[in-house]
């Protein structure tokens, strides 16, 4: 009787056509990206300029690093609204530490520490406090911004240590450091998600938490790690942001980063409710957003209408993707 099964299930589709349809199903964001890229090239000749391309990469690197973490959080079935505020807080505290110590290392380390600690708290609230991640991180969003404002008295703080700005303003061959850091992080998170147990458990947890728990996975611990991870990535982003402008604003830095990061993740094909999605998708989601912002400036879209155009294109890009 086994032969029935064999006939049914061994014929693995591996033709060129099915390959293509697989690519389409899994990575339709890449196709959306290519269309937007070609469209942009045709609409504005300056778009293809190598400097412009490098600019776009530079511009997306901060949101990109955050979006990597957001992908992991969203794969686990959660969301993190606090990223922008935590970025501001980590930036403010790290600049103070930098100025107080005079050591760049201390500054960088402080940013990472603040970021991961805030993430850890988010994780605790979600995992142990059983608070919906939306509300837990909404609380953190309000709280972290508030503390940043309090420390910096509503204003911004500037670095006073030479060399700190070099972190974000140097380049290797043609690539700026932030771009390199972004790509490095992308590779690390990719490996983490696809080659290690951690990633496997995150997918499992996001897809079916009960089943994950019954498989003896320490679900709570996983969640705490997930939020700590995004917190740390936000810390990295904070270092870049602070170093790039040698200052950070407690009131406006990081404003609405959460929305951009989430949009990038969803455009990249990750499912809102978790369990399904890809780091590579997010990478292209981030690039699509970057191109949109860039084109809006190149095409001189009226400022009042930019929101409209951006919203529209995001929705088209998402509709265009094959949904289950």
């Amino acid at each position: 009787m086994a032969n029935i099964d064999v006939k049914e299930y061994t014929q693995e589709p591996a033709t060129a056509k099915s390959r293509l349809s697989w690519l389409w199903a899994e990575y339709s964001v890449i196709i959306a990206f290519i269309i937007i890229f070609i469209g942009s090239s045709l609409m504005n000749p300056r778009f293809l300029d190598i400097n412009n391309q490098l600019n776009i990469l530079m511009q997306v690197s901060i949101i990109g690093i955050i979006a990597l973490g957001m992908t992991v959080v969203m794969l686990s079935g959660g969301i993190d609204l606090s990223v922008g505020s935590v970025l501001a807080l980590a930036g403010v505290i790290s600049v103070l530490a930098l100025n107080a110590s005079g050591s760049i290392l201390v500054g960088v380390f402080t940013a990472l520490l603040v970021g991961s600690f805030a993430g850890f708290l988010n994780g605790l609230m979600v995992a142990k406090g059983r608070i919906a991640s939306f509300i837990a991180t909404l609380g953190m969003m309000a709280g972290a911004r508030s503390i940043a404002l309090y420390i910096a008295e509503g204003g911004s703080v500037s670095g006073e240590v030479d060399g700190f700005t070099a972190i974000a303003n140097s380049d290797l061959w043609v690539f700026d450091y932030p771009v390199i850091i972004f790509l490095l992080m992308a590779v690390l998170v990719y490996i983490l998600m696809h080659k290690t147990r951690f990633g496997r458990y995150v997918y499992a947890l996001g897809s079916n938490e009960k089943a994950a728990m019954l498989s003896a996975i320490r679900v709570d611990r996983m969640k705490i790690w997930v939020y700590t991870l995004i917190g740390t990535l936000v810390g990295v982003a904070a270092v870049i942001e602070t170093s790039r402008l040698n200052s950070i604003s407690s009131s406006s830095s990081g404003a609405q980063y959460e929305l951009d990061a989430i949009a990038a993740v969803i455009i990249g094909g990750t499912r809102m409710t978790g369990g399904r999605g890809k780091i590579i998708g997010t990478l292209f989601g981030v690039l699509i957003l970057g191109i949109l912002n860039n084109m809006m400036n190149l095409m001189n879209v009226s400022p009042h209408l930019q929101g409209f155009v951006k919203g529209l294109i995001i929705i088209i890009a998402v509709v265009f993707q094959k949904r289950e």
Binding site: M1, A2, I4, D5, V6, E8, Y9, T10, E12, I191, K195, T196, R197, R200, Y201, Y203, A204, G206, S207, N208, K210, A211, A212, M213, L214, S215, A216, I217, R218, G275, R276
Partner: protein
Amino acid sequence: MTPQPFVAMKNIEKSFNGVPVLKSVTLEVEEGEIHALLGENGAGKSTLMNILGGVHQPDNGTILINGEEAKMADPRVSQEHGISFIHQELNMVSDLKVYENMFLGSELRNKFGFLAVEEMCRQTHEILAELGVNINPKEYVRNLATSYKQLIEISKALLHKSRLIIMDEPTTSLAEHEVNRLFELMKNLKKTGVSIIYISHKLKEIQAVCDRYTVLRDGQLVKTGMVENEDLETITKMMVGKAISQERFMHEHPFGETAMEVSGLTSTGHFKDIDFTVRKGEIVGFTGLAGDGRTELFESLFGFRKKYAGEVKINGQVVKIDHPRKALQAGIGYVPKDRKENAIIKDLSVIHNMSLSSMGNFERSGFIQDKKEREKFDVYKKALNIKVHNPRITIDKLSGGNQQKVIIAKWLEAETDILIFDNPTQGIDVGAKQEIYQQIIALSRLGKAIIILSSEAPEVLRICHTINVMYHGEITARFTGEGASEEEIMHYATGSKREGIAIG
């Protein structure tokens, strides 16, 4: 009996929200035995196992493993004691691949700490082959039929090299040959000293593989004994309090006109060239193996799937059904299989689940009459013997069998002329099964056209007037209820016999 059983659960008590579910239950399982845990729906079998598996904590009582007290604080602890649990409801991570599910929580890694994907695939392939399944280990579980999911759950438990495997109704969605393979495997495991607790409502299975049995009734221990010393009737009687006949129902009555006529229905990849008719008062069965396209066919007829070609006539009128609502309006009701995913709304109360598809029956000038709902539910509660202490609790608090009865009540309430039952007695105890069959027959006497889908040949043989056998999306044979035998059905269902439709 050795003085010290491998697992002993002593005087276990458990109540949910003040309602006692287990009353001082004791269960002992020896090393290397297959122990049947029996009882009607809601008797407390799963709850008892959930306590052993660390899913629930007992209010009272102790668990001894090899004579030493063990506290099953969570599923991890239980697993560390060598206990694997195949749950009644599937617990697959549908977004992961087959091998990823198999090794979830116990991944193999290479020396760098990275996942050893190929090795896991190889082992997955091996262990599935033992069960006679040949699936690509890298296939996503969400793309698989339920029976394969079930087999994967079983394989996962096997993978753990456990000392005790709890199987809570593992065969509800398996075809017969798959069940036989499973039994062979269980017997082999037994030889290597592994114990198995086996829960099933199919008493034939109990006789086939189990050594001892324990019967629960309403949370109380009724009896423990050797299976070979009892016959089916006695066990049934212990479970439900009366003898149940396994005979074919005699129910001859004249049929009315054609209620549903289907011709040339085709959907690529699922089914092709389906023709059949159902008359009023007729009970038509569809059987076959998993993956024969039965469910897809009727999901299409019910409007859940839209991509198909062919013609459907209801009461002589050609209809185009592209949404379940239209099916309902056309007079078709559908009790789906896999109730957890397809049927129950776990956040709605038992009553509200019952009334969901027929809200019109309970409305007056647009407002829902609570009292009417409640009264109607009480009618079904009595008719179908639904066990629920308070029908306002959410339906997920009911035992599996009782959930199924509520879903049947829901479609009875919709009062459609045509009723499709997909695997209607999945997980239902022998007593309740009988009640459901009687309900179905009563409906057919009232002139309703009934369609029953089941992978269990005996089920369709017991109550259907006409039986269609499907294989690879085609109807390969058609019998009258009396004219068919289990053996012959199997021939057509496995494709080993294929000829012009045998109309009896």
